[in-house]
């Protein structure tokens, strides 16, 4: 194929990628977006494969065939595991970019040092730093989300951590600048390739050190930031290889990650630096000897009776619903309430769960129509008319302290106004007041009733009660 027809194929693939994302704007056309994406990918790969400098086709076929099965396996994970699958795929994306940058560098210093212009070196350095830090950072994020034993769930912090992290990153950039200033002279001394390897090691270390101090509640932001880095490393690869398809596709991914990070940060009223260096979600020092507040517990029977009388029920799902795998029981309850003519809506906070949109996917899996999934800003106006607000495994996103308590770490965060509902039912696993994290004032309001137990069991019992069968 001539150079022009290859470039033309790339151009068509680029247009298809843009259309693919455009169609994602509406659930009705979203699946078309996937097909456009697949078509673009096939076109891009086919055009590349047809390049005259591609010599040995078997060598390409073998790793592709080897990767198909793990790929299919990773696409079949339970939907509660989607956040860790996503983190893992950012890791693969970063790794691919890092490896390609490394390969190009060593090839060029060995054979064509004149190719190492300061510009190409800048792109290579950006590619390997971004690629390798995304690789280890995303692996740690995936490990935390999967709750792997030897990676602590809680933020892992020590004194001076920020300086160590920034120091590692600063040093990597500094050495990178030395390498790019050297340009073609990289081939003249063995010192430069050694420095190059040092940069790789620093980037690999910076990645995991960056994510270790970050706790579960911040994962939606971290995943989005890593998403953006993975995209930018693909852009850098495009600059290294002078490939515009890589540049556009990477830029689309990068801007998507950036937009999602901004949305997540706004939804927590925090800044990027605060997320990355703030070690949020640490166990807070218990407020000195605070008075023992009391929960009011409610029985399943009592709760079911109140639910039956309601006109509008708003369910606020959170990460606890995912952990307990309660979404299918929630759907049963939803059906039973609907059958009685009760309006049921779901209030979705942008940072509920462990990645952007996590709750929507789980509820869609349970076949709850998406017209009943309402964003925070759209539902808050209706909360005073809400008869019962049922909180399923959500915590910070309904904590009124975000509006009132200036000393609270979540002060200023936009929340779902659960406390404005006429009555609140909150499902909580244990009565233990020494709950790790932030005290939730919502639980101690006069109108709040606690339902203690596992979310799946409690919702299941409520459904049984409403179904008329009683508990036994």
């Amino acid at each position: 194929m001539t150079r022009y027809s290859i470039e033309l194929a790339y151009l068509v693939a680029t247009a298809l990628f843009i259309l693919s994302l455009h169609w994602m704007s509406d659930p009705k056309s979203a699946r078309r977006g996937v097909f456009a994406g697949v078509a673009a990918m096939l076109l891009g790969v086919a055009a590349t494969w047809a390049k005259p400098q591609i010599l040995h086709h078997w060598w390409i076929t073998i790793p592709i065939l080897l990767a198909i099965l793990p790929g299919i396996w990773l696409s079949l994970v339970p939907l509660t595991a989607v956040p860790q699958r996503t983190a893992l795929s950012h890791a693969f994306g970063g790794l691919a970019a890092g490896l390609v940058g490394t390969a190009k560098y060593f090839y060029w210093i060995g054979h064509e040092p004149e190719m190492l212009t300061p510009f190409r070196m800048t792109a290579i350095i950006a590619e390997i730093i971004l690629g390798y830090l995304t690789f280890t950072g995303s692996l740690v994020a995936a490990g935390k989300l999967q709750e792997v034993k030897w990676i602590p769930q809680r933020p892992w912090t020590y004194k001076g951590q920020v300086f160590v992290n920034l120091g590692a990153f600063g040093l990597a950039v500094l050495l990178g600048v030395v390498l790019l200033m050297a340009g073609p002279r990289n081939a003249e001394s063995v010192l430069y390739p050694i420095l190059f390897c040092v940069v790789i090691v620093l980037a690999l270390n910076f990645g995991w050190m960056l994510v270790m101090p970050i706790g579960g509640a911040d994962m939606p932001t971290v995943i989005s930031i890593l998403n953006s880095y993975a995209g930018l490393s693909a852009v850098a690869m495009g600059f290294v290889l002078d490939n515009k398809l890589l540049i556009t596709a990477g830029a689309l991914d990068g801007s998507s990650g950036l937009i999602l990070s901004i949305i997540m940060c706004r939804a927590m009223n925090r800044s990027f630096t605060n997320v990355l260096f703030g070690a949020f979600g640490q166990v807070q020092a218990a407020k000195a000897g605070g008075e023992q507040k009391l929960y009011k517990a409610e029985t399943i029977e009592g709760a079911a009776q109140i639910l039956e009388q309601a006109n509008l029920v708003v369910v606020v799902p959170g990460y606890g619903m995912a952990v307990a795998q309660a979404q299918h029981k929630v759907r049963e309850l939803y059906d039973l309430l609907k059958k009685r003519g009760i309006t049921v809506k779901f209030a979705i906070h942008p940072v509920a769960g462990r990645m952007p949109g996590h709750m929507n996917v789980l509820l869609a899996e349970a076949e709850i129509p998406y017209d009943d999934l309402v964003e925070m800003d759209a539902i808050n106006g209706d909360m005073p008319q809400c008869d019962v607000c049922l909180v399923v495994g959500a915590n910070d996103v309904v904590n009124p302290a975000a509006r009132t308590d200036k000393t609270s770490p979540i002060y200023g965060m936009p929340i779902i106004d659960a406390d404005k509902a006429r009555a609140v039912f909150a499902i909580k696993r244990s009565k233990n007041p020494g709950f790790a994290g932030i005290d939730n004032e919502l639980y101690f309001l006069d109108k709040t009733f606690m339902l203690f137990g596992d979310a799946k069991a409690v919702i299941g019992d409520l459904a049984k009660q409403l179904g008329g069968g009683g508990l036994h």
Partner: protein
Amino acid sequence: MDALISSLYVFVLATFLGFEVIRRVSPLLHTPLMSLTNAISAISLVGSIVILGEQKSTLTMVLGALAVTASTINVVSGFLITDRMLKMFKTKQGGPA
């Protein structure tokens, strides 16, 4: 130098375009959006194929083969899981979206 400038143009324009297109995606679909953009940026497969297929040295081939494997896993799992999730989003009528 010309190649550099035109590449920078493409990068800047694609970033702005990405912003405009992705801002319009409903928060409802943010999870599938992320897995779709994952799959799209796995276009790094193209770069990996070039590195591997040129067969310039043993090192580039080994690194290239690893990169092709990592990218292909992302292509396959990214598109498949996006479609799997999108199939689940239904309206009240119960029919497919």
